[in-house]
């Protein structure tokens, strides 16, 4: 019998994101149009009804994420997509989802800011906003794809992580990755590992909504299933009721952090290229990592011992992985399409182990391989 | 006879039940808590109970007077 061969398809990054979301089980999308993320919304509008899911265009991005959180509480895997100005508006509800522990996925196809900025050019300037945009201490997971296939793959993973940890997960994407078209072979749904939020294993009378079952992630039933409970953005006790008791407030914020930080070792996602003997290692993500890969290949041809780490997870920052690099390289180069955001974090954990160099481009155009190569040649000694 | 009961633990002495009882059944004591002064006048209209912001007053209705009056929400 002939084995079914998965055909290669030509997909745009934003299309691949939708494919990933649907395969991960996303059945609710709410959004508001904004370049360069609009395609995600338009494709969702076409595909959701066929997938028996819900698509709705809301009145703004605050409303979009509000609806997404509501749908998630009602049991649907949900997402939204936006760009800088909309991402700013979503911050209030990112904090809410983090505090109330509601799984949801937010795509930010970045544009250069501040304000309306450069709507159609590639940028990576929301790295810090994705980490600290909403007020207050909070954990967050941020993923950064650098190819069309990775956009698909990390979208699936974004849902998995948000379900596993009951936390908002952000996909931080640049315009190049969002709009480029690449041939990809998508896996079948069955070959993917899909995770769902932990469900209560006790009857409703025994259910304590925010009690830590040991994993740090409380069980989450859907509204309407018979487990009636209270959800709030206020600090709450294990029953979900507002509290100002010091012995309830502090354990909550620590649990929110610990449920993710206990798994730091599992959350080291990167591609390493020629790093073993590298004297200079490039740390990059998104479209810049693509240019860097080319530059490293060319440099190697010229006999320069250079390597590349392509970060898939930006937050929580992969301290362990990066520390290893800083330990073993003489120099580290961090090229970015911003004024220096991930490089700042690299410098913070460096503690003078090696020299951290930056290459920042903020004129609205991508960093070219030649620019990285030139820098490598200049600093190689 | 209808019996009106007040839960002091929940009552915030707002005086609403006293002021709007159509038959002056209730009266404030020295600390402002409602007390039943004229139980025989109570028609069981439930207005005191329905207007209490604190769920602090309950009218135990005598079964006979129950039919004609009461909340329009149902029964």
């Amino acid at each position: 019998m002939k084995k079914a061969v998965r055909k290669q398809v030509l997909l745009q990054g934003n299309e691949a994101c939708v494919e990933g979301a649907l395969m991960a089980g996303c059945r609710f999308y709410a959004g508001y149009p904004i370049t360069p993320a609009t395609e995600i919304m338009e494709i969702m509008a076409r595909k959701m009804p066929g997938a028996s899911g819900v698509f709705i265009q809301m009145e703004d991005e605050i409303a979009s994420l509000g609806a997404v959180i509501g749908a998630s509480l009602a049991g649907s895997k949900s997402m939204t997509a936006t760009s800088g100005p909309g991402f700013s508006l979503m911050q209030e509800h990112i904090g809410y989802a983090s505090m109330a522990e509601v799984p949801c996925v937010i795509v930010d196809v970045m544009r250069a800011g501040p304000s309306t900025g450069l709507p159609t050019q590639p940028s990576q300037s929301d790295v810090m906003q994705s980490r600290w945009g909403t007020h207050g201490d909070h954990p967050i997971i941020v993923l950064a794809p650098s190819s069309v296939y990775e956009f698909f793959e990390l979208t699936v993973q974004a849902f998995n992580l948000s379900e596993r940890y009951r936390t908002p997960v952000i996909l931080l994407v640049d315009e190049l990755v969002a709009h480029m078209r690449e041939g990809v072979i998508l896996p079948t749904r069955d070959s993917l590992e899909i995770e769902d939020r932990p469900h209560p294993t006790v009857p409703p009378e025994w259910y304590i909504p925010y009690a830590d079952p040991g994993t740090g992630v409380p069980a989450m039933p859907a509204f309407g299933e018979g487990y009636r409970y209270h959800v709030t953005g206020l600090y709450h006790d294990v029953r979900g009721y507002p509290t100002v008791r010091t012995d309830e407030v502090e354990p909550l914020i620590h649990r929110l952090f610990n449920k993710i930080s206990k798994d730091y070792d599992r959350l080291q996602w990167f591609d390493a290229f020629a790093t073993e003997d590298a004297k200079i290692t490039i740390i990059a993500y998104g479209c810049v990592a693509r240019a860097a890969l080319r530059a490293v290949q060319q440099a190697r041809e010229k006999g320069l011992k250079v390597g590349l780490i392509n970060l898939k997870i930006l937050w929580p920052f992969m301290r362990r992985t990066i520390s290893g690099i800083l330990e073993n390289s003489a120099k580290v180069l961090v090229p970015e399409l911003n004024i220096g955001q991930i490089s700042r974090e690299v410098k913070r954990i460096n503690q003078s182990r090696c020299e951290v160099l930056t290459l920042n481009k903020v004129d609205g155009t991508p960093i070219k391989p030649a620019e990285i190569l030139r820098t490598l040649e200049e600093v190689y000694s | 006879m209808n019996r009106v009961e007040i839960y002091r633990g929940w009552c915030k002495q707002c005086g609403i039940c006293i002021a709007f009882c159509p038959h002056q059944v209730l009266e404030a004591d020295d600390s402002g808590y409602p007390v039943v002064r004229n139980p025989e006048k109570c028609t069981g209209c439930l207005l005191c109970e329905m207007r209490c912001p604190d769920f602090a007053i309950v009218v135990n209705k005598d079964e006979e007077s129950r039919e004609e009056t009461g909340s329009p929400a149902g029964k």
Binding site: F28, R46, K47, P49, G50, S52, I56, M58, E59, D60, A63, G66, A67, V68, I69, G70, A71, S72, L73, A74, G75, S76, S78, E92, H93, F223, G224, G226, R228, Y229, H230, V231, T232, G233, Y241, P242 | G9, W10, C11, K12, C14, G15, I16, A19, F20, L47, E49, M50, C52, P53, D54, F55, A56, I57, V58, N60, K61, S71, A73, G74
Partner: protein, 275 residues
């Protein structure tokens, strides 16, 4: 049977501390009891109901009652409600909002929820003031009133929540005061039954702050004020605009039919694009 006691046991969360946080004589508690009473007489089970609030004194209501309850962000209750209703249309979705909550910070969400006609029963507790933050002006604070944020008198005009709801497309628009408890219950019942976006403005007293600018010194005076100034929709029809000045028109203001969002969305299900 012991009416309120029965309600207390059946609907108030026994694991929650009472008395509740609202000030003595605050109208929110009267509304809460009316809501619970109506639900008790309705066909909905506690599991069917999702009660959603924004932020403010009224926002604290859901925590006391034993439904699926959600205390959201200031002004955004309707956005969460929209998501919940569309994700699971079998749920009975109810929102409770303050006046500032619903029509200042949440004004845009309010207009669009009404326009879309998502099936949500929305109750707006209008106490003409920002209660929780200490008595500042809200969009329904009367012109001239002295508030914490208008120490020389409010120079902004107030607006009529019900007319806004009507213009935006709500299919049921009604108003009651908390004094008129029987009417209140009847209107809550209608709002819960309506297969679309319904708005019930509940004129309520903030005994701590509104009383001050209306020169009403006690909860009792404030309820009397509601009683004396209320006028039914039917009577209001015979009066001129100047005669209606300062009056609270109570009853059903709009009751109409329009396809709701969910029914229309259902007709799209299964559609597959060729693109």
């Amino acid at each position: 049977m012991r009416e309120a006691e029965h309600l207390v046991h059946k609907y108030l969360r026994s694991s929650k501390r009472f008395p509740h946080i609202w000030c003595s004589g605050c109208g929110i508690g009267i509304f809460m009891q009316a809501l619970v009473r109506v639900i008790d007489q309705s066909e909905y089970s506690k599991d069917d109901i999702v009660l959603i609030s924004g932020i403010g004194c009224s926002g604290r209501l859901p925590v006391y009652v034993d439904f699926n309850t959600l205390h959201t962000t200031h002004g955004r209750a309707l956005t969460f409600a929209t998501g919940i209703k569309l994700a699971n249309p079998r749920l009975k979705v109810i929102t409770v909002m303050g006046d500032g909550d619903a029509v200042a910070i949440g004004g845009n969400h309010f207009i669009h929820a009404a326009r879309r006609n998502v099936e949500i029963a929305s109750f707006i507790l209008n106490n003409n003031v920002y209660g929780m933050t200490g008595g500042q002006s809200s969009p329904t604070t009367p012109h001239g009133a002295i508030t914490a944020s208008a120490p020389y008198g409010n120079i902004e005009p107030d607006f009529d929540i019900c007319r806004l709801a009507e213009a935006a497309g709500a299919v049921l628009v009604a108003r009651s005061t908390v004094y008129h408890t029987r009417l209140l219950e009847r209107l809550i019942g209608m709002a819960l039954k309506k297969k679309g976006f319904s708005v019930l403005e509940v004129v309520s007293q903030c005994t701590t702050y509104t009383g001050r600018f209306l020169q009403l010194n006690s909860p009792v005076e404030m309820l009397k004020w509601q009683k004396d100034n209320a006028i039914t929709v039917e009577k209001a029809k015979q009066l001129s605009d100047t005669e209606l000045e300062g009056k609270i028109v109570i009853g059903v203001l709009v009751n109409r039919e329009r396809p709701n969002y969910h029914e229309q969305y259902q007709s799209l299900l299964g559609k597959k694009s060729k693109v």
